[in-house]
């Protein structure tokens, strides 16, 4: 799994019927967004541990994870005053630039899926799924043991890890 930056649109599809509620997707999201990319260091090392871009919902036997949907008409983009939230031209993904973020949290108010996590300490946006733009394959999809989250291309065809 090289660190090849991806340049094509892609989308994560959630299949709640297969989510077994292990939350391994969150673990690997954290690792993928850590400096070291090493699971032990990410959790036990010095660096502040990143926050996962995933929301996990569970009631009884039903569970699923939710990441940013990278909406075509993204309300968070409209709401953002500083342009910290922006759309990547090549991939169409909605990304967040922490440097520009002033912590007004308008995006959090606007997101209909509630998938932007606030950072109360730094008063910024703490995390939002960036579809692992740095990786060929999103970490959560790669590590979901039950293929409860899968990756599709623009046409909706499944992309499997090579």
């Amino acid at each position: 799994m090289g660190d090849k930056k991806i340049n094509k649109p892609r989308r994560i599809i959630i299949r709640e019927e297969y989510c077994m509620g292990c939350r391994l997707c969150e673990v690997w999201c954290i690792v993928a967004h850590s400096k070291s990319k090493d699971i032990i260091k990410a959790y036990k090392g010095q660096e502040p541990r990143p926050v996962s871009g995933i929301y996990f919902e569970e009631r009884g036997a039903i569970s699923f994870t939710l990441q940013c949907r990278h909406c075509e008409d993204a309300p968070c983009l409209e709401a953002c005053l500083t342009g910290a939230m922006y759309r990547d031209k090549k991939t169409g993904m909605v990304l967040h630039n922490k440097d520009k973020c002033v912590g007004c949290w308008m995006c959090i108010m606007a997101c209909p899926y509630g998938v932007i996590k606030p950072d109360f300490k730094e008063k910024k946006v703490a995390s939002k799924c960036d579809l692992c733009i740095e990786r060929e394959f999103p970490a959560c999809v790669e590590h979901c043991p039950n293929e409860a989250i899968i990756l599709v291309n623009k046409k909706g065809e499944r992309i499997d890890k090579e």
Binding site: G21, R23, V27, W28, Y43, H143, N146
Partner: protein, 506 residues
């Protein structure tokens, strides 16, 4: 008094250096072994509850966990082993029958392990299956007594009437495992793999769930003593019908699916009221003789217009050969023999471990008997119970079987680690459970792929072994005992198996 609860079977060993406190193990173990304490920031395990299913070991993202067998350190004793002691403690606690799942785990002689195969050297050429055609196609069904040819205007026409047949791309089928004993996702996995590969799966006595209708054309529908889920549509939907008399794991014993497991889905599939115990009587109450069996066979043939093979499954017991002969004479198109190592979802351990005979001896005896009586062609023979590898398949066929059923091997492909606790309904792998929290762990897309891979891998290996023997069709291996030799077997055992000892030439 201090009451001994049970002998601890496993130690859950956690490498604290590696453990990142993700709590995946805590969430995933249905036996509530792991727990996280926020106060001490430690994950700990109650090893006494661990059944050794290895699920946590596999999902732990840092490989911090190892499940180890813990032989509680009782004084060494050649007669009194942990198993015996453990069961007595259990029974002193409960006063009940000790239940168990999966197949016999006692070291009953594995004859397959004492048989070796032949290969061609110099005097007859071996065949490279990658370069030359190699046929594994197998037909299950009654074969005609003779070929009838008619000459008409100097053209020869074959007028032989061929009874209905199942066409298999490989001599391996998935054995009877009911929806109820295993989850619907497990059924779907095997059903889809069977359809994709071109073999068959079996409903067991659980009826045919409507979600499995798309796979019904490659399904053998079972008619067992409880007659669950049996109606005209069920019989018509299947590709073949199997009358289940017995099962290798529990010969002479019926079945019992407790009411708690009879959910709405299971109740509608089995056609019994929700929440009631599904009891399969030990015998079929309308079968007390070969003549009675014949009536049922023909009733089923009548109901399906003589278009489908009807077979009979029995457990391998002492009298297996004459019983099989009776079954063939009663009109069965195939006979299934299930040996003492056959699996189950639940059986009294004392029965599982002590009743029945090994499949190798049973198949050889049945094949021999049917040949002697000149009726071997009238029915196909399927061997079941303890087929662990493609080598076992080849040996079973050479001992006289047409094909084999696999159950345990298929479940292992789906994740099963043989913890033998199927009867608890807490299978962490989502196989032997109806708990929706657990069943969704088995994604049938992945399951089907894995079961398919198993069939594919074994088939490739079977071709390699056949090629080595210089045989290019599995048909030519059936009952070809010259390809087998025993190693370390007694004269009587060799005689019963019908094979020579290693070192003896043709």
């Amino acid at each position: 008094m201090a009451i001994p609860k049970k002998l601890r079977e496993f130690d859950v060993v956690r490498d604290d250096e590696k453990c990142i406190r993700c709590e995946v193990c805590c969430r995933m173990c249905a036996n509530d072994v792991h727990s996280y304490d926020a106060e001490t920031d430690k994950v700990s395990a109650d090893s006494a509850k661990c059944v050794g299913c290895h699920f946590c070991e596999d999902v732990c993202p840092t490989e911090a966990l190892v499940i180890k067998r813990n032989k509680s350190q009782i004084k060494r004793n050649a007669n009194w082993k942990n198993d015996a002691l453990g069961n007595i403690i259990k029974q002193a606690n409960t006063g009940g029958v000790v239940l168990i799942g999966m197949g016999n785990d006692r070291p009953i002689r594995d004859y397959f392990g004492h048989i070796v195969l032949n290969a061609s050297q110099v005097t007859n050429p071996s065949i490279d299956p990658l370069r030359e055609p190699m046929e594994l196609k197998t037909f299950i069904g009654s074969k005609p007594d003779r070929i009838e040819l008619v000459e008409k205007k100097s053209k020869i026409k074959n007028t032989t009437e061929i009874p209905p047949q199942l066409e298999l791309e490989t001599p391996v089928l998935f054995t009877a495992m009911s929806f109820g004993s295993i989850s619907l996702n497990a059924c779907k996995s095997l059903a889809k793999a069977a359809c994709d590969f071109g073999t068959y799966w079996n409903t067991g006595e659980g009826g045919l769930h409507k979600d499995l209708y798309p796979y019904a054309h490659r399904c053998i529908v079972q008619v067992a003593s409880g007659r669950f889920g049996v109606d005209r549509e069920y019989l018509k939907k299947g590709a073949a019908i199997e009358i289940k008399i017995g099962q290798g794991a529990k010969p002479g014993i019926g079945g019992h699916l407790p009411g708690e497991k009879v959910s709405a889905e299971i109740s509608s599939t089995r056609m019994i009221p929700e929440g009631t115990d599904a009891l399969s009587p030990a015998p079929h109450h309308d079968i007390y003789s070969i003549e009675d069996l014949r009536q049922l066979i023909f009733a089923l043939k009548e109901a399906t217009d003589y278009k489908k093979p009807v077979g009979v499954k029995i457990a391998a017991v002492h009298n297996v050969a004459p019983i099989a002969s009776g079954i063939v004479r009663a009109g069965a198109d195939f006979v299934v023999i299930d040996g003492i190592r056959g699996g189950t979802g639940a059986a009294p351990q004392i029965i599982r471990d002590n009743v029945g005979i090994p499949i190798e001896l049973a198949v050889a005896a049945v094949d021999q008997r049917l040949r002697e009586e000149g009726i071997r062609h009238r029915a196909s023979l399927i061997a079941a119970g303890g087929i662990k590898s493609s080598g076992d398949v080849v040996k079973a066929v050479a001992l006289g079987a047409d094909a084999v059923y696999i159950g345990t091997a298929a479940l292992v492909a789906l994740g099963c680690h043989l913890c033998q606790r199927c009867y608890t309904g807490k299978c962490n792998w989502g196989i032997a459970t109806q708990d929706p929290y657990l069943t969704k762990r088995l994604n049938p897309e992945i399951g089907a792929k894995r079961a398919y891979n198993l069939l594919r891998g074994w088939s490739l290996e079977i071709k390699e072994m056949l090629g080595g023997m210089g045989i290019n069709a599995i048909e030519s291996l059936r009952g070809n005992k010259e390809q087998l030799r025993g190693v370390g077997l007694h004269e009587k055992e060799l005689e019963l198996l019908g094979i020579k000892h290693a070192g003896e030439a043709w």
